[in-house]
């Protein structure tokens, strides 16, 4: 216990120091929201790797492999890699304008409502972003609560509140602080999962024994459950079936590619190439980490055939650490889980607060041609920090309810984002004719159909994302073809390297710049 606590105290000290260093870099609101559009490659790769490695990946995926088999690799790991593979195409376009937007909803304003002072689409996008990232935030708090509860025996609720304190601390410095702590967290996660995987292989008697057991076991995931058919864990579609796995794959790949926090992240790099390249390197750096995560999931089944009654498979990795890893390696692995929770939750909480304050409140407050002065932006930054605190408290309350499996919760939100925003982002960045009516229709169709498919089931057994995202894109194309083309200032910044003065002026007006 003392080693665990010692390592944790050391971890918290590192996070606090890196947060303070990051916070000192914040001079303007642009620094707070996007790091001043000046982030370099190393920091960009570090923060992006850490953001990918949430508790859904470090705890949820091993738990899913443990309980549902190798099909989870297709649905979650290949899905997330697919999403990351597509991202350079978005990063290049998003970072192309000389005056880039600062948030995802602001991009929606620039692309579809550039001729309007206040954009209803920006506000709706901000509300959706706020709701989705709030779910993400409490999932992370929940993951951290599970880990700390397992190690210390402290009540789960207390553990969640402790997490909130760390989380709020890292968010107070804005994007710079988040990026720096994320980079530290990415390194710790790598060390932690390697420690976990090496120990699991050694204790289980090697990879051959792990695979052999995985292919033949009939032990249920939780004690008292029905035995599973032998071989189901190593089959292509597992207990899910092809439709569910492909739906998960599409949600995690196509859905993730347009997730607002990723689109916003591409506004931070110092130039378009850095934005695109950072995602390529993210794919490379994630490979060894996810190999370790797969080994942990499969090895867990050999070491602990069934989990105790009353726990979900999300508890598998922490349980494995407590039971089988020596305290030094175990504490490193546990820190990896906490680092994953912190690194993702701080980004999510930052997006929640910017959606609410920057995209909704500030957008309306400075309507009618008003410009935000340096003093105004300083006040907004203060309000952003207070909002982070309030949302952190609310996230803890949500986490205490333990509403969903960690990885499943992520898939639902990514699926919803993909259904709603896929056409708006991809067609908006690559088709000049994509316009405001088409954006509205795609958003409404995607939202309604995703909600219907999740609650009632997709028709004909099709993957949910194919139905909701597909219909959203088709409806956008139909509306786009029968309505007028958008004004030039709505698309020029994303299609030309030398936009007109009117377009540049529109971008400044949308940002409420005092120029």
């Amino acid at each position: 216990m003392s080693i665990y606590l010692g390592v944790f105290i050391g971890y918290f000290a590192i996070i606090i120091i890196s947060s303070i260093v990051g916070a000192k870099k914040v001079e303007t609101m642009g620094d707070f929201t996007t790091g001043g559009n000046s982030m370099g490659l190393i920091l960009g790769v570090g923060t992006s790797v850490a953001t990918w490695l949430s508790v859904a990946s470090v705890m949820g995926v091993p738990g899913n492999i443990y309980s549902r088999g190798v099909c989870a690799i297709t649905g979650w790991i290949a899905g997330w890699f697919g999403g990351t593979a597509l991202m350079p195409l978005i990063a290049y376009k998003i970072r192309r304008p000389a005056v880039p937007t600062r948030t995802f909803p602001e991009f929606i304003h620039a692309r579809y409502d550039a001729d309007k002072d206040v954009s209803p689409l920006q506000i709706v996008a901000a509300v959706i972003e706020l709701a989705g990232y709030f779910v993400f935030s409490f999932i992370q708090v929940q993951g951290f609560g599970i880990v700390l509860n397992r190690i210390t025996g402290l009540p789960f609720v207390t553990c969640c509140w402790l997490f909130m304190i760390i989380l709020v601390f890292t968010c107070f410095g804005g994007f710079q602080s988040v990026a720096r702590t994320d980079t530290v967290n990415a390194i710790l996660i790598l060390i932690g999962v390697i420690a976990g995987a090496i120990t699991v292989v050694n204790v289980a008697g090697g990879m051959g024994a792990i695979v052999e057991n995985f292919a033949t076991t009939t032990a249920p995931a939780v004690t008292g459950g029905n035995p599973i058919p032998a071989g189901s864990l190593t089959s292509t579609w597992g207990v899910f079936g092809a439709s569910a796995i492909m739906s998960t794959f599409l949600s995690n790949s196509l859905g993730a590619s347009v997730a607002p926090h990723w689109v916003a992240r591409f506004m931070a790099p110092k130039n378009a190439k850095t934005g695109a390249l950072q995602m390529f390197w993210v794919v490379i750096f994630l490979i060894p980490i996810f190999i370790c995560i797969v080994i942990i999931g499969m090895g867990g089944k050999a070491l602990m055939p069934s989990l105790p009654e009353g726990v979900t498979s999300d508890y598998m990795f922490p349980q494995l650490i407590i039971n089988y890893l020596n305290p030094v390696l175990g504490s490193l692995a546990l820190v990896a889980i906490c680092a994953a929770a912190v690194s993702t939750a701080n980004s999510m909480l930052l997006h929640c607060s910017t959606s609410l304050i920057y995209d909704i409140v500030r957008n309306i407050k400075f309507s009618g041609g008003k410009k935000a002065t340096v003093e105004d932006d300083a006040k907004t930054t203060k309000v952003l920090r207070i909002t982070i605190l309030v949302l952190g408290v609310l996230a803890v309350i949500g986490a205490i309810q333990q509403w969903s499996f960690l990885a499943d919760g992520f898939t639902y939100v990514y699926g919803a984002f993909g259904s709603v925003f896929f056409a708006m982002v991809w067609l908006g960045l690559y088709v000049k004719k994509m316009n405001r009516p088409a954006a509205w229709v795609s958003l409404i169709v995607g939202f309604i159909l995703y909600f219907y498919c999740v609650t009632q089931g997709a028709p004909f057994g099709l993957p949910t994302f194919i139905v909701s995202g597909g219909c959203s894109v088709i409806s956008a194309i139909i509306v786009m073809l029968v309505t007028k083309a958008p004004p030039v200032e709505c698309y020029e910044a994303y299609f030309s390297d030398d936009p007109s003065e009117a377009t540049v002026a529109a971008m400044h007006r949308i940002r409420r710049d005092d120029v």
Binding site: V70, L89, R96, T234, N271, A272, K273, F280, I287
Partner: protein, 52 residues
């Protein structure tokens, strides 16, 4: 054990490479420093020539 999940995973890594290279080449062709056209294709180091 089914190899399909592993093949899908490897395929996505290949897709990442196949997508990034044309994007980087397109940026290089613009010649614009503000887009990173003069930076190296795999390091973004501005002191090194880009691989055309």
């Amino acid at each position: 054990m089914s190899m399909f999940p592993i093949i899908m995973w490897i395929l996505m890594v290949v897709v990442a490479f196949v997508i990034y290279i044309p994007v980087a080449i397109k940026i290089n062709k613009t010649g614009l420093k503000r887009l990173g056209a003069t930076a190296h294709i795999f390091t973004c180091d501005p002191d090194k020539d880009p691989i055309k």
